[in-house]
C-alpha cells in the first residue's frame, strides 16, 4: 500500500467519521439532559431526508431553502413524537420510555414505507457539495470539508445555548433534578420539548449531510447509521458531547481501516461496531470521556 493510498483511506475514514460524529451529538445531547436514549433518532434522521427530498422535487425549492424547511419540519416532528410517545410516560420507569422510543422508531419506519414506498429514491446532489478536490493525489469530496465545519458551528451554537441562555439553564437544571427544577418555576414540559426539538434539528442536519454523501434514501436508511452513531456516542461516553465527536471519528476510521487492511473481512464491518460496543461496555462502560458513574447514584 502506497502512501497516497494510505492517506486516501485515512481521508475516507475521517469523512465517514465526521458524519458519525455529527449524528452521535444528537443522541448524546438528548441523553445528557433527559437520561433517555432516543431510539427513534435514526428514523427522525430518515424523515428529514424525505422532507428535503419532497421540498426539492415536489415543491421545486432551492436546495438551501429546502434544507431549512426540512430541518424545521423535523423539529416539529421530534416535538410531536415527544408529546405523543414520551410525555405521557413522564412518571413511568425509564425502561417504559425506552420501549416507547423503540415503538416510535418502528412506527416511523413503517409509516414511511407505506407513505413514501419501499423503493429507494435518489437524493439531489448540488455540485457545491459533491465536486472533488485533489490534494497531492488524494481525492476528497468537498462535503468532507463542510461536515466538520457544520459540526463545529453546531457545537458552538449548542454550547452557547446550554451555557448562556435561560432555556439552556433550564435544561441543565432539568438534567440534574426534574422535581426541584419544577419547584423553582421551570416549565419542565417546555424544556423537554425544546431539548427534543434541538435533538431533532441535529438529526435533520446529520440526515441531510448523510444523504448528500450517499445520495439514496429509503425508509430503513436510518437504522444502521442510528445504531452505529449510538455506538459512537457510547464509545465516546454517552452524555458527553466531546465524547460523541471522538467516538464518531474513532468508529469511522476503524471501520475504513478494517476494510482497507483486511479486505476479506469487509463483510464484518457492521459487526466491528458492535464488537467495539461490547468491549467498551466490558472494560470502560463510561466510554472515553464519560462522566463518573458515582454521579448517577
Amino acid at each position: 500500500m502506497g502512501l497516497a493510498t494510505f492517506f486516501q483511506h485515512l481521508t475516507n475514514g475521517v469523512s465517514l467519521g465526521s458524519l458519525y460524529a455529527l449524528i452521535a451529538i444528537g443522541y448524546t445531547m438528548v441523553y445528557g439532559i433527559l437520561r433517555l436514549i432516543n431510539f427513534a433518532h435514526g428514523d427522525i434522521f430518515m424523515m428529514a431526508t424525505y422532507f428535503a427530498f419532497f421540498a426539492i422535487f415536489i415543491f421545486h425549492m432551492h436546495w438551501f431553502i429546502a434544507f431549512i424547511v426540512a430541518i424545521l419540519l423535523t423539529v416539529l416532528l421530534g416535538m410531536g413524537i415527544e408529546k405523543a410517545a414520551y410525555k405521557p410516560l413522564r412518571d413511568a420507569p425509564k425502561i417504559s420510555v425506552l420501549i416507547s422510543a423503540i415503538g416510535a422508531s418502528f412506527l416511523l419506519e413503517n409509516l414511511a414505507t407505506v407513505v413514501f414506498g419501499g423503493i429507494p429514491k435518489p437524493f439531489p446532489t448540488p455540485s457545491v457539495f459533491n465536486d472533488m478536490v485533489i490534494l497531492g493525489g488524494v481525492r476528497v469530496q468537498k462535503l468532507t470539508f463542510y461536515i466538520p465545519a457544520v459540526t463545529i458551528i453546531l457545537l458552538i451554537g449548542l454550547a452557547y445555548l446550554i451555557n448562556k441562555t435561560k432555556s439552556g439553564m433550564a435544561m441543565r437544571a432539568v438534567s440534574k433534578d426534574v422535581e426541584t427544577a419544577s419547584l423553582m418555576g421551570i416549565d419542565v414540559n417546555r424544556t423537554i420539548s425544546i431539548t427534543f426539538g434541538i435533538g431533532s434539528a441535529l438529526a435533520a442536519v446529520g440526515g441531510i449531510m448523510w444523504a448528500l454523501k450517499f445520495p439514496q434514501i429509503q425508509p430503513l436508511m436510518g437504522v444502521m447509521p442510528g445504531l452505529k452513531c449510538f455506538i459512537a456516542a457510547v464509545i465516546g461516553g454517552i452524555g458527553s458531547i466531546t465524547g460523541a465527536v471522538i467516538g464518531g471519528f474513532f468508529l469511522g476510521i476503524m471501520e475504513i481501516m478494517l476494510v482497507a487492511f483486511f479486505p476479506t473481512l469487509a463483510g464484518y464491518r457492521d459487526a466491528l461496531a458492535f464488537i467495539l460496543l461490547i468491549v467498551i461496555l466490558l472494560f470502560k462502560p463510561t466510554g472515553f470521556m464519560g462522566e463518573k458513574m458515582s454521579e448517577k447514584v
Binding site: Q8, N12, S15, F214, P215, E255, P263
Partner: protein
C-alpha cells in the same frame, strides 16, 4: 395454573394439527386458484421485486382464468430479508394455502423459501433468480430464466473480447448468494480466457445495505484493473459506481441482470453511463408473438417500457397456468409434474424449455446504459 396452561396448549396443538389436515380438502373444493407472489416489496431489493409483480399482475389481468376457475394472486412481501423470506413463504403455503408460487427476485430470498416449498410440496417458479442452487436438489423449484454459470461466462467473454481487458477486479455483495456465485463463474471463465491465474487482481466484499464503499474502491484503484465486475443489488451498485468515479477510477463497470431497474439510473445519474450488464430480455427486440403482446399490453397498463424481470414475472405466471391446464387439476403435485414437463412454451422473454434441474435454457442479452436509458448491445446464445 400449570394445568390450565397445559390444557390451553394442548388444545392449541390439536387445533393446529387439524388445520394441517384440512389443507388438501380446502384447496380442492375452492373455486379460486391461488398463486402466491413471493417478492421483495420493501427494503433494498424493492424496485426489482415490484417490477416482477407488475409482470405477474399483467399476466393475471390478461389470463384471469384456468379450468373455469378464477386465478387470484396473493402478494407476499419478503422484505428483501432472508429471515423474513422464510416466514413469508411459510405464510403462503400454510395460511394462504396457495396452489403454486411465483418468485422471488433475488436468489438468496428464493433459496430461503426452498425447503419450505419442498416440504409443503407446493411448486414454485422463480422469475429472475439465477443462482444454480435455487433449483438444485429441489424438485419443487423451477425458473424461467438462465442461470449464473452461463451469465458469468457471458460477461467474462464480453470483458475479454470487447473491452480487451487483461486484468479484472471484482467488488461483490458478499452476503448475497447471487453475487458471490456470479462472481465465481466470471472469475473461472476470465482466468481461462486470459490464460493467466493472476488476471483477477483484486476481490473486494461488501454487505447488502452498505452505503460507504470508499475503502474497498481505494484498494481496487491501487491495483489498476482494466475492468471492474460488480455483481450485486442495483442500489449498492449505483452508489459504488458513483463513489468510484469520485475516487478517480476510470475503468468500465460491468455487472449482472440485477442492475436493470430504473433506480439504478436514477441513483447513479451520469456516473453509470456506459455501464454494461447481461440480462434476459430487451424491449427493443421482441422474440416471440407473446413478447409483442406483452410489450403492447405492458405499455398500455403501466405507460412505460418493461424491464426484463417484468417479462420474466409474466412468463412465470404463464408457465404455471399452462401447467395447471395440462395437469387438468389444482393438485400441487400434479401441477409440479406438469411444470417439469414444460417444453417449447412460448413466453414473453423467449421460448421456455425446462431442463432436468428445472432451469430454462435461453439466450442472454447484453445492455448498456446510454443517455440515461438501457440500450440493447448484443445477444449471446448458450453453448450447446
Amino acid at each position: 395454573m400449570k394445568k390450565i396452561v397445559a390444557a390451553v396448549l394442548s388444545i392449541a396443538m390439536a387445533a393446529s394439527l387439524m388445520a394441517g389436515c384440512s389443507k388438501q380438502t380446502q384447496s380442492e373444493n375452492n373455486d379460486v386458484i391461488k398463486i402466491g407472489v413471493f417478492e421483495p416489496m420493501t427494503g433494498a431489493n424493492a424496485a426489482g421485486g415490484q417490477l416482477e409483480v407488475e409482470g405477474a399482475k399483467l399476466a393475471n389481468k390478461l389470463y384471469p382464468e384456468v379450468l373455469g376457475k378464477k386465478v387470484e394472486l396473493v402478494i407476499m412481501d419478503n422484505k428483501s430479508d432472508k429471515v423474513e423470506a422464510a416466514s413469508a413463504a411459510a405464510r403462503l403455503v400454510e395460511q394462504e394455502k396457495v396452489n403454486a408460487i411465483i418468485g422471488s427476485w433475488g436468489s438468496s430470498l428464493s433459496m430461503a423459501a426452498g425447503d419450505i416449498v419442498k416440504n409443503a410440496k407446493v411448486p414454485a417458479v422463480g422469475a429472475s433468480c439465477t443462482n444454480p442452487l435455487v433449483t438444485k436438489g429441489n424438485d419443487y423449484y423451477f425458473r424461467v430464466c438462465f442461470i449464473d454459470p452461463f451469465q458469468g461466462t457471458v460477461m467474462a467473454n464480453y470483458a475479454f473480447q470487447k473491452l480487451n481487458a487483461k486484468k479484472a477486479a471484482i467488488i461483490q455483495e458478499v452476503s448475497n448468494d447471487y453475487a458471490v456465485g456470479l462472481s465465481k463463474y466470471f472469475q473461472d471463465e476470465f482466468k481461462k480466457l486470459t490464460g493467466d491465474e493472476n488476471s483477477i487482481v483484486a476481490i473486494a466484499n461488501y454487505n447488502t445495505g452498505d452505503q460507504d464503499f470508499s475503502a474497498q474502491l481505494t484498494t481496487l484503484k491501487d491495483k489498476n484493473p482494466d475492468v471492474i465486475f460488480a455483481p450485486g443489488n442495483f442500489t449498492e451498485s449505483a452508489l459504488i459506481i458513483k463513489q468510484a468515479r469520485q475516487l478517480g477510477i476510470k475503468a468500465p463497470f460491468i455487472g449482472g441482470d440485477t442492475w436493470e431497474t430504473p433506480e439504478f439510473i436514477k441513483i447513479g445519474g451520469k456516473d453509470v453511463e456506459g455501464a454494461v450488464f447481461s440480462t434476459h430480455f430487451t424491449a427493443e427486440k421482441p422474440i416471440t408473438k407473446e413478447s409483442e403482446k406483452f410489450l403492447a399490453e405492458f405499455k398500455k397498463e403501466y405507460n412505460k417500457e418493461p424491464a426484463a424481470v417484468s417479462a420474466l414475472g409474466y412468463d412465470a405466471y404463464l408457465v404455471i397456468l399452462d401447467a395447471i391446464k395440462r395437469a387438468n387439476s389444482t393438485d400441487s403435485d400434479k401441477i409440479r409434474e406438469a411444470i417439469a414437463q414444460t417444453n417449447g412454451f412460448e413466453g414473453a422473454a423467449g421460448m421456455i424449455t425446462l431442463n432436468q434441474d428445472g432451469d430454462a435454457v435461453k439466450n442472454a442479452v447484453i445492455n448498456v446504459v446510454k443517455d440515461g436509458k438501457f440500450t440493447y448491445l448484443d445477444t449471446v446464445e448458450p453453448k450447446k
